[in-house]
């Protein structure tokens, strides 16, 4: 299988990632260090996981099943309503995201958020206005120079993290990754690394699937 990345302690014959995780946890001393190494081990594992052939095959199989289900739904619903191209594309995207989240095996926040989204759509829409009103206030304080600074700085410097631009960008990143809108900074960064690799794999899988389907559409299949 794919070899593990060399910045972990070099395992000799281990093929599973559990051994690596155990080795890392044994070497840690304090609780902070243990959380850091467990986070590091998850991200090291994710480096290889989303790029392996095996994972791509698993995801492709799930994707095809999901797409066939979408097609069945579309064919049954076409008599009643006329789904637009955008709705169909949206349905395919959601099916692909669900398949991706299932392949993540529930270990990451974003995958759980995607799967939970189908049920909790209403709750999410209620919570959004609260999150968006907080952010524009900080940006106007930073950009405006004179007037409202004296009044607002005293309110906004309560949390030291809200001022630096790095933390602001982390918040923006947190909104991009599903389910991480209100997480702490290290969680957001970690989820983002995993999410990016999963998205890359999704793009690769869908690309090859599209190529396959389009090639079958144009030419007769070889026997």
């Amino acid at each position: 299988m794919a070899s593990l990345i060399s910045d972990t302690e070099p395992p000799t014959t281990s093929t599973t990632t559990d051994l690596v995780r155990r080795k890392k946890k044994r070497s840690s001393v304090s609780s902070a260090a243990s959380s850091r190494t467990s986070a590091a081990s998850v991200s090291c594992e994710s480096h290889t996981r989303w790029r392996s052939e095996k994972q791509q095959r698993i995801y492709s199989a799930k994707l095809i099943q999901a797409l066939q289900q979408v097609r069945l739904n579309n064919s049954s619903a076409e008599a009643t309503s006329s789904p637009t191209a955008q709705k169909r594309g949206r349905a395919v995207r959601e099916a692909a995201d669900r398949a991706l989240a299932v392949s993540a095996r529930g270990r990451t926040l974003w995958s759980r958020a995607i799967l939970a989204n189908r049920i909790k759509l209403k709750f999410r829409k209620q919570k959004r206005p609260r999150a968006t009103t907080a952010i524009p206030v900080t940006t106007t304080v930073v950009s405006s120079s004179n007037r409202s600074r004296k009044r607002r700085v005293s309110v906004l410097r309560l949390n030291k993290k809200s001022i630096p631009s790095v933390n602001r960008k982390v918040r923006v990143l947190g909104r991009l990754v599903p389910g991480c809108g209100k997480q702490s900074v290290p969680v957001i960064l970690e989820e983002a690394t995993d999410y990016i690799q999963a998205l890359e794999m999704q793009v690769r899988a869908m690309n090859s699937l599209a190529q396959l389907l389009s090639s079958y559409g144009s030419a007769p299949p070889p026997i």
Binding site: Q68, V92, L158, N159, S184, T193, I196, A210, L213, G217
Partner: protein, 94 residues
């Protein structure tokens, strides 16, 4: 100017992140990004730029997935008509 750590404006109630941890995470993030910045000396790229590139990259990936899913939906519609092709495709996949 007092740092009132007990107040929770944005709901990040986690303990303060250490600089080393932050640098570590940002480094990992930078390794993933497909950019010229990977080849440069690793000290010179700021965390702010890395985060900006990350946001842009995620948006690009999302857009690409959306385009691909639209294309796939169109292809799936067109494949429906020819049943022998659909059967062949299904047999290949399974």
């Amino acid at each position: 100017m007092s740092n009132r750590r007990s107040s929770r404006q944005s709901s990040s109630t986690a303990p303060r992140i250490s600089d080393d941890q932050m640098i570590d995470l940002v480094t990992k993030l930078r390794q993933i990004l497909p950019e010229i910045g990977q080849r440069r000396r690793s000290d010179k790229v700021s965390a702010s730029k890395v985060l900006q590139e990350t946001c842009n990259y995620i948006r690009n990936l999302n857009r690409e997935v959306d385009n691909l899913s639209e294309r796939l939906s169109q292809l799936l519609e067109s494949v429906d008509e020819d049943s022998p092709e659909a059967a062949v495709i299904r047999s290949l996949f399974m």
